[in-house]
Amino acid sequence: VQGEAPGSPGVPPRPYIPAEVVLPELTFLPLAAGTLLGIVFGASSLYLVLKVGLTVSASIPVAVISITLFRLLAKFGLRQRSILENNIVQTAGSAGESIAFGIGVTMPAVLILGFDLEVMRAVLVSVLGGLLGILMMIPLRRALIVQQHDSLKYPEGTACAEVLKAGATEEERRIAARAAGGVVVADAAAAPAARAAGAAGGDAAAGADAVLPDSGARTIFTGFGIGLLYKTLYKALYFWKEIPERDFKAPFEGGSASVEISPELLGVGYVIGPRIASLMCAGGVLAYLVLIPAIKFFGKGLAGVLPPGTTPIAEMGPDDVRAAYVLYIGAGAVAAGGVISLVRSLPTIWTGMRGGLADIRRRRQDTAASVARLRTDQDLSMRFVLGGSIALIAMIMLASSLRMNLLGAVLIVVFGFLFVTVSSRLTGEIGSSSNPISGMTVATLLLTCLIFLALGWTGPPYYVTALSVGAIVCIAASNGGTTSQDLKTGFLIGSTPSHQQIAILVGSLASSIVLGPILLALNDSATVYVPRVTFEPAAAAAAGAPPAALPTALVAALPAYAGSPPPVPGSYRVLHVQEAGAAKALPPGEYLVGSGGRVAYRISRNFPPELRAVPAQLGGEETLRGPQARRDPATYRVWQKPDDTGGPQGRYLVDRAGVPVYLVDPGINGTHPLRPDGTRVTKYSAPKATLMSYIIKGILNRQLPWALVLLGVMIAITLEMSGAPSLAFAVGVYLPLSSTSPIFIGGLVRWLIDLYLRRQPAHRGFTAEQLTAVGDRGPGVLMASGYIAGGAIAGILIAFSTGVLTNFDDFMTRFMTAHNPLFSGPHEDALSLLPFAALVLVLYLTGRDLLIARRRAP
């Protein structure tokens, strides 16, 4: 029946919708809906990648939402949309996630390297990288997707095609059945056909277990609603505490455990599964239950300050130890893990590359002989690809904020083409989730930096050049992988490739433009302008019960306090608490004691008073942004302090006399969580971006705290020796334990569900991979995806609203502190776990198919 090109190696299967049937495809509404969904999932992915350094695939949730949405609209009298239109929605919508991953992994490194995160820079990098990835994939489609249909499975793309087929209309099913050569017996024929197609794809379970989109979408939306509501309740309305925690007392001083009870992290843990989830959390356990207590125990006897710390270890709390030492160890581990994973995937990358290049060569011979193209075999023209690429490169060269030069542009083209090919092949073999994008970025950065080093280009401007090369290649490779999954889906259901390519270009462009500003806004919302001295109310520092008044005799012996005045002025005396034993309720640190022996504040000295800006290094003028702008509307000049002499390195705001007033602690990878008014912010850790910045810094200026970094390298090696992939573990060392512990809980829930699935009689004799595949299509994953999207979107919206509804926010904080035992009180930590337990239970029951019962395919 089909007019397939005879003689092509590995005869491709018939698409679901045959080439000669023309259905509506690239229409306005699906394109708009896809772009919009792409932005939503892109934003939530960006939020996640900043928090924990990973994202989860958006294709299937977008496809499910799209089918349901249009079905709903059809009930209101709009036209029933075709399967091909749904595919366009899914194609346009999937771009956001991959671009967000690329940005989140690379761009925050700019901040760590000591530069500003300008909007234009972020937008340009993502637009250029995203579009370049797609354009480079266009000539690869025929080679990788069509000719190697049998050998490259593209698991996510195949799964997505199954979802789309399950949502096909009756008419489409008839078309499909006729095309398949079967007897036309209404729609029942479609199911066996789908199953046969699944079996042909080497995945017998695919058809049988595909979730019907109706109940699937209900699950996603329920999850989305729960995630959104839950996050709003605690994050904006303070119904309960965000991070229940517990600091261990002596003898295990310095040890602490905490869990950020957020829906999105729980969902991520469920989706990535128990193995990786527990590996990440194991890294957190090493940092919080081994390294921090060990440093505290062994270092508390040291008399002076041990650099890179700024206060004696005896006076540090767990978070201070982490910021001063453990973060460097974690960064070293992440860097080593990145390089090790690169080395490990080199053989894969090499075969991928060789195969890809061979395919291209073969294709060039084929094109000469090719005749009129079928609908399902029409790509965007080669002229468009070449012209577009050249235009993009020209833009890269011209954009001054990228500090690009000719060599950089050449490197982008070389590495970009190399790694887009590799990425596309690897997603075909092992799936998007296992694609070593970080490894390829590390490789790009390593080689770029080494070339720069050889040329003697080691000045700070070249950091940005190197990072821009790495970022564009990273985004291109990431988007190239996603594009290939989408093209595979289209190939299976019979889409027109050129239409898909236009859709993903539009989706990428839109997401790129929006994601840059979101990145900046997230950073601003958690940025703290740190004054010279910070005053933390003692009650907050002592975690719960306010410390009792000190005896008068003791107070009289203390030295008087002279320095910048605290929020409530008065006469104070200074108390140094060395060990937790001295004054029972107080953690170690420096305190101000007010009248009557009441301990009022814990103070931190952030930079020395005698620090002065070097006039030659002063930059432009700036005002404060975010919530602190309300209290200080003055204009300052920016001073980028290049080294550690005389005070911490970083970005300062300086007054007219050249006196530094604030140290600007960025929201991404910052270390000061406390605002001057005593409120706490949750910082974004962006672990992978740290990795990139360390590679650049390590090669180009070689100014790293090497001792700690090398310790981290040793830890990564240790993990590899005991057979665990060190990168996931190292990321866990770098992240706060509170971020990885909810992921671990999510992984445990998934483990329980997998255990249940393994015992099902229907799954007897399945291999571990098949079982995981079954779990990946289950309702639990859809619910978890909903949690992720809902929680992340709520997080972004709340981050945007900081500084807008400040009066309401102040009122809620005060009210809840006074009246809500879950938010503030002696048992706040334990009580806050209750709502989280409910969240976990809902996820578990959904995973067991008990909560939102789904109907199975006939």
Binding site: A250, A282, L286
Partner: protein
């Protein structure tokens, strides 16, 4: 054959056929092997905290020896194997527990030959006795269900030996290679045992990072036998301790505090002068971190195996009840009587409660101890026997069971108010007896399975065991003392607990007892170690082997890792996933372990001879033979860090290559 009714199972030698079995020559040879492998096991378990099953190598050797010196029947070979393997399991049980006496307060008073002899004899015989009523339910009734992997492998070896074939060549090649290698460096002193391949300065960027390796054949073979996964876990714990934690601590802790902490632990100025700064930190802090990790991992292992233990016990009790009313007595179904079992165990329990000089407290109260030994012993013998039936002797969680026993005993002692110093030693003895009994029961069941498959007479096997236990017991205590004496460092009373004889499991037992009864542990490092164990478990490693690695010196685990890597390479080249016990590489590696361990004991004997018989003080006998001492140029060469390290690397490389090329050979069977 496993599918047919087990009652109708036809062994290799049918029940109706009588042949020579319990002959004097078999008993003598078995006792000899028991002594050799017992002594070798003491050496290996003290140094590396690991043991290697002895049944298969003994069976192979027995066939070879009898082939050369007179004929033998398969049943005689089986008796040799049965008697000989008792030494290994009893020695393992002793070494894992008894040295803990040295770490307990006043425990040293009980660290005497007689005490160790009584402990091992009583524990070993209890294990055999308790196994007698369990044989029919576990070995016979559940023949199809419980594979007993080592026992089956051993039966295969015996049957293969009967049909001809030459497995012993590989084992002998390994033994002689190892002995020659040991002789060259241990007696002649051609190179040093420990190579320092990497050491940073004290004030360097990374202070005190050290990579040392003992270039010994027994570690190499051990690594090959346990395979790359476990070897990697062992060594990775060591890498973390020596290349990350010691530098970190060295960076943080000023010397005056370190010296103070070391003197509090009893390390003299002389000891400090003789050892490196990294070694100071290891002894002052890492030991506690490691012990905390091992203790925490042990408890986690126990919790993980609790369901298995419970169901194993339930199943055994069930089948015991079902199989009671049987009266069919053929040769292959003839056990020692139940009277021997009950009477014997009661007498043994009574002996340990009243024997003078043995830690048990005042008499009427000491009956509690006997009761606990019987109860826990019976329980864990049942469990151990069933678990080795499923997963094999090497994976048997003996240390987990011992920890459980110790904790339960300590809790009982705390409840009845017995927290005095003497009860630390009493609790340890309860743990030791149960540990030895459980370890021996595991080995016994494997041998009974072998006997069941080849058609041996159970009664003769059981008597053989008791002989094996008693004979090997004679040398186990002696070897323990010999090694403890020989491997002392400068300024130390005991070698056990020192760098050469780390005795990780015993430290763990002492840590648990001290923590529960005396409550005087330095909790901060112990808890840091517990955190490490959690981390390893969550990272998907086997927490116990990882934690043992963190406790042991890296110089011990690193050569084991190299052995594991050789195995990985061989497997990769041969493109296979699983290797049976009967491959050429495994046999050669077993030979290396046996030869290396025996060589270690022999060297200790030579040193002892010079010390106690010839009364040579300085230089000692070994120092006089040592070429490096007599020939100064060579001594400087081999003791220099760089050239000595290269020398060790070269000879060890040659050893690795021999293992590799032998493992690539096809086995002529």
């Amino acid at each position: 054959m496993a599918e047919t009714n087990p009652e109708d199972f036809e062994p290799f030698v049918p029940a109706s056929q009588e042949m020579a079995e319990f002959t004097p020559k078999a008993i003598v040879l078995g006792a000899l092997f028991g002594i050799l492998f017992g002594a070798a096991t003491v050496y290996l378990a003290l140094r590396a905290g690991l043991t290697v099953s002895a049944s298969v190598p003994i069976a192979v050797l027995s066939i070879a020896v009898f082939k050369r010196f007179g004929k033998s029947t398969i049943l005689e070979n089986n008796i040799v194997q049965t008697i000989g393997s008792a030494g290994e399991s009893v020695a393992a049980g002793v070494v894992f527990t008894v040295p803990a006496l040295l770490f307990l307060s006043h425990g040293e008073d009980y660290f005497k030959y007689v005490t160790i002899f009584v402990l091992s004899a009583v524990g070993g015989i209890l294990g055999v006795l308790f196994m007698i009523p369990l044989r029919r339910p576990l070995i016979v009734k559940e023949h199809g269900k419980l594979p007993y992997p080592e026992g089956t492998a051993c039966a295969d070896v015996l049957i293969a030996g009967e049909r001809g074939g030459n497995l012993a060549k590989m084992v002998f090649a390994g033994v002689f290679t190892a002995l020659a290698y040991k002789f060259l460096y241990g007696i002649l002193g051609l190179w040093n045992e420990t190579a320092t391949w990497f050491r940073t300065k004290r004030d360097g960027l990374i202070p005190d990072a050290t990579l040392q390796s003992d270039v010994t054949p027994e570690y190499l073979g051990l690594g090959y036998i346990i395979g790359p996964k476990i070897a990697g876990e062992l060594a990775s714990g060591g890498v973390l301790a020596w290349l990350a934690l010691i530098p970190l601590i060295s960076w943080l802790v000023p010397d005056d505090r370190l010296v103070k902490d070391l003197s509090a632990l009893g390390f003299s100025d002389g000891w400090r002068a003789a050892n490196s700064h990294a070694q100071w930190i290891y002894r002052a802090y890492i030991r506690y971190i490691g012990a905390g990790a091992v203790a925490c991992a042990g408890v986690m292992t126990l919790i993980k195996t609790l369901p298995t233990i419970a169901s194993a016990f339930r199943e055994s009790v069930k089948s015991l009840r079902g199989g009671a009313g049987e009266a069919k007595k053929v040769r292959t179904d003839d056990d020692l009587g139940l009277g021997v079992v009950i009477g014997g165990s009661l007498i043994l329990a009574l002996i340990i409660t009243i024997l003078p000089g043995f830690p048990h407290g005042e008499f009427p109260g000491s009956l509690l101890m006997g009761l606990m030994v019987i109860v826990f012993g019976l329980f864990f013998v049942t469990v151990s026997s069933r678990i080795v039936g499923i997963i094999g002797t090497s994976s048997n969680p003996i240390s987990g069971m011992t920890i459980a026993t110790l904790m339960a005993t300590c809790v009982v002692f705390v409840l009845v108010g017995r927290t005095g110093d003497v009860f630390q030693s009493v609790a340890l003895c309860v743990g030791a007896l149960v540990c030895i009994a459980a370890a021996n029961a595991g080995a016994t069941s494997q041998d009974l399975k072998t006997g069941f498959l080849v058609g041996a007479t159970p009664r003769r096997q059981q008597i053989g065991f008791i002989i094996g236990v008693l004979v090997s017991t004679l040398v186990i205590g002696g070897t323990l003392f010999l090694l403890d004496h020989t491997y002392r460092g400068a300024g130390e009373l005991h070698g056990i607990g020192g760098p050469k004889l780390a005795a990780p499991q015993a430290t763990l037992m002492a840590t648990i007892i001290k923590g529960l009864l005396a409550k005087n542990l330095p909790w901060a490092p112990v808890l840091v170690g517990a955190g490490l164990a959690f981390m390893a478990q969550m990272a998907g490693a086997n927490a116990l082997s990882w934690a043992v690695g963190a406790y042991l010196p890296l110089s011990t685990t690193f050569p084991i890792w190299i052995g594991g890597m050789v195995k990985a390479l061989v497997d990769k080249l041969a493109n296979r996933k699983e290797e049976s016990e009967l491959s050429s590489g495994m046999l050669f590696a077993t030979g290396l372990v046996a030869g290396g361990s025996l060589g270690g004991v022999l060297i200790a004997l030579v040193a002892f001879f010079g010390d106690s018989v010839l009364h040579m003080e300085t230089p000692t006998l070994l120092e006089r033979i040592d070429l490096g001492n007599n020939w100064k140029v060579f001594g400087d060469f081999k003791n220099d860090v760089v050239s000595g390290g290269i020398l060790c690397a070269v000879v060890f490389g040659v050893l690795c290559w021999m293992l590799f090329s032998n493992a690539r050979k096809k086995l002529e069977a």
